[in-house]
């Protein structure tokens, strides 16, 4: 992570424009794949609902990756922000506020505020100490969710939520319909990642990447690095909260498990699987694989923690740089020694 060449001269204007074109093509390709996803999922014997879960989890992982992949901050407390968003939707609904847009905006706001508060405590830290602090303070939200039963429903959570019908005048969309819900989630997801990409490709995003490469240098250049980190944490928390809000609708409920440390670990692992350390879209692939594996594991055994644990361990040991790179290495290995070096080089390049 730290050995990336920092002496590369700034890219000239023309390749920049070309890169933006390539990015637009990637967004379009992604949209195309996700538009047909609910038709693919049943073909491999899974419930259509899984498609929604994949997209929601992708949003969570991309939001998380603003910190890990683009600012170099290993957060291990992201379940707190995701869960806060989920609880916001549920609590609002228990208070009689049914409007979906209001609920989701509140979810994002809640996630952002939670992250902003934690951010005040952690924004001057980095590396493993940052991980330790986010993990510890993330668990604080779990305790609140568990103990403050009047508001959060305690151990049983808040169940029996409803999805409303979005009436646009010319057409009404009932979110209780699996397909309609999926495309609604997809819309929120796609708009969100466009905004996230816009933020990350702005000068602000450039400073974040600078912090990832060398925080001290960024400080010497006169940027208040901790303010940038705080902003990154808050933005990441807001989008995580939005994902959590969608997840509450998806589950028709919120449970304390949404805020549990296992959830914080899940998003790290999903991001790693997809090769998110070096890529914007990686977490989507990671989320898809992770959610698929989760569905598979939990349908076969009640001892899912054991298999998840083994999954965590094997991800770190066998493909810490993500499955895409692992696949490339494997194909190059199959092609034989002569091809191997080229493919290795290629995989490293795409890795960056």
């Amino acid at each position: 992570m730290t050995q990336v060449d920092t002496n590369t001269p700034p890219a000239p204007a023309r390749p920049m424009a070309r890169r933006q074109g390539a990015m637009a093509a990637k967004f379009a390709a992604l949209l195309a794949v996700l538009l047909v996803l609910p038709f693919i999922v049943p073909l491999i014997g899974m419930n259509v609902g899984i498609a929604s879960e994949i997209v929601i989890y992708s949003l969570f992982a991309i939001a998380f990756n603003i910190l890990l992949g683009f600012t170099g901050l290993p957060s291990f407390g992201h379940a707190a922000f995701f869960g806060t968003g989920a609880y916001m939707v549920a609590i609002l609904q228990y208070q009689g506020i049914e409007n979906t847009a209001v609920a989701l905006l509140t979810a994002a706001l809640g996630g952002g505020i939670a992250a902003g508060l934690v951010g005040v405590l952690v924004c001057k830290k980095r590396g493993i100490y940052f991980g330790l602090l986010t993990l510890a303070f993330g668990q604080m939200f779990f305790i609140v969710a568990l103990r403050w039963d009047e508001v959060t429903g305690g151990e049983t959570g808040l169940t029996g939520l409803t999805r409303s019908t979005i009436d646009l005048g010319f057409a009404a969309f009932d979110l209780n319909d699996q397909m309609t819900f999926y495309y609604f989630v997809l819309l929120v997801f796609f708009l969100s990642i466009l905004v996230i990409w816009r933020i990350l490709s702005s000068p602000f995003g450039a400073v974040l990447r600078g912090i990832k490469e060398n925080e001290l240098r960024v400080q010497y250049l006169g940027y208040p690095a901790y303010l940038y980190k705080w902003a990154a944490i808050t933005i990441s928390g807001a989008f995580s909260g939005l994902a959590g809000g969608l997840f509450a609708y998806y589950q028709y409920a919120t449970y304390p498990e949404f805020v549990f440390w296992v959830q914080s670990g899940n998003v790290v692992v999903a991001t790693l699987i997809g090769g998110g350390l070096n890529s914007f879209f990686g977490p989507i692939l990671g989320a898809a694989i992770f959610v698929g594996a989760e569905d598979l594991i939990s349908s076969y055994t009640e001892h899912w923690m054991l298999f998840f644990g083994l999954l965590f361990i094997s991800v770190v040991i066998f493909f810490p740089n993500g499955i895409p790179q692992a696949v490339m290495r494997l194909t190059s290995w199959i092609r034989g020694r002569t091809g191997a070096q080229d493919a290795d080089k290629a995989s490293e390049e795409t890795g960056k």
Partner: protein, 291 residues
């Protein structure tokens, strides 16, 4: 308002709880300092100590368990370092944390498969299973034994680290691992040894705590999360910081149990947040490479 006797006994409970937490935190913080890794499975080792004490008590009695269980846990620690963690030295510390996350999850489930979901009880040793009457207060003998045992182990660990030749190698290793290996020390062996030793400490803490702690699969986390905060409060890499932090968390917890029991668990977070804002390096922490 709680009465005088209740206050005294709660505060004493708090100090003793704090000593156990300090014992857990000392091991956790040693691995963090020497190897720069967060061992999320440290709580699992604590839980294993307690569960082994439960199983061994029927065969070798409490004292037998107090000796054998930590040794087994130490061995498990060495195995863990040798099989998994060793592969990740020199890589992003993030990976070790994810790995130990996985070990903690799998381990918790394995404990559940072996010993079941329900809480188990470990008997206090016969010589300390009743109460002492101090005149104004009647206090559990085992709690006093627990305090003495935890303090003794903490003291012995400090002696080993601060006064023995091995300790100076370990301390040098935290400052400059490269230099230590250039001087001809076998650094991988030292790391394995330190990891095994902290596992042993965690296991010992588990055995000592077992008779009064509810021995259930999630107990590891119940001890580990306070340990995180204790390291934050006491300061990274400071031995006495961990002990001080442990005592503070224990006492703060005891006080809040008296006044607002439902949210008592949150007190240590508030404490850690306050410390972090006013003493960014912890109460006794020094500037370290880990910031």
């Amino acid at each position: 308002m709680p009465g005088f006797v209740e206050i005294v006994s709660q505060l004493t409970n708090g100090v003793i709880y704090g000593l156990i937490l300090a014992l857990v935190a000392v091991g956790f913080s040693l691995v963090l300092g020497v190897m720069g890794i967060i061992n999320f499975a440290h709580g699992l080792l604590f839980a294993l100590g307690a569960y082994l004490a439960y199983s061994l008590q029927f065969h070798v009695g409490y004292f037998g368990a107090l000796v054998i269980a930590p040794l087994i846990v130490g061995m498990i620690g060495i195995l863990m370092e040798f099989v998994f963690i060793r592969r990740l030295y020199g890589r992003d510390p993030l990976f070790v944390l994810v790995l130990t996350f996985g070990v903690a999850m799998a381990g918790e489930e394995i404990i559940q498969l072996i010993w079941g979901k329900l809480a188990r009880s470990v008997d206090a040793p016969a010589f300390a299973d009743s109460f002492i009457d101090f005149g104004f207060i009647i206090y559990s003998e085992y709690r006093l034994f627990m305090a003495a045992a935890a303090a003794l182990i903490i003291g012995a660990t400090w002696y080993l680290l601060a006064k023995s030749p091995l300790g100076s190698i370990i301390r040098a290793g935290t400052h400059d691992p490269e230099m230590v290996s250039i001087l001809g020390m076998n650094l991988p062996l030292i790391r394995t040894g330190v990891f095994g030793f902290t596992a042993l400490l965690g296991g010992a803490a588990g055995v000592v705590a077992a008779p009064l702690w509810s021995v259930r699969p999630t107990m590891g986390l119940d001890a580990l999360l306070p340990a995180f905060l204790i390291v934050v409060i006491g300061g990274m890499g400071s031995f006495w910081g961990s002990v001080l932090g442990g005592l503070l968390v224990g006492v703060a917890n005891a006080i809040s149990v008296m006044f607002f029991p439902r949210f008592a668990d949150l007190t240590m977070y508030v404490l850690a947040a306050v410390v972090l804002l006013y003493w960014p390096r912890g109460l006794l922490g020094k500037k370290s490479v880990l910031e």
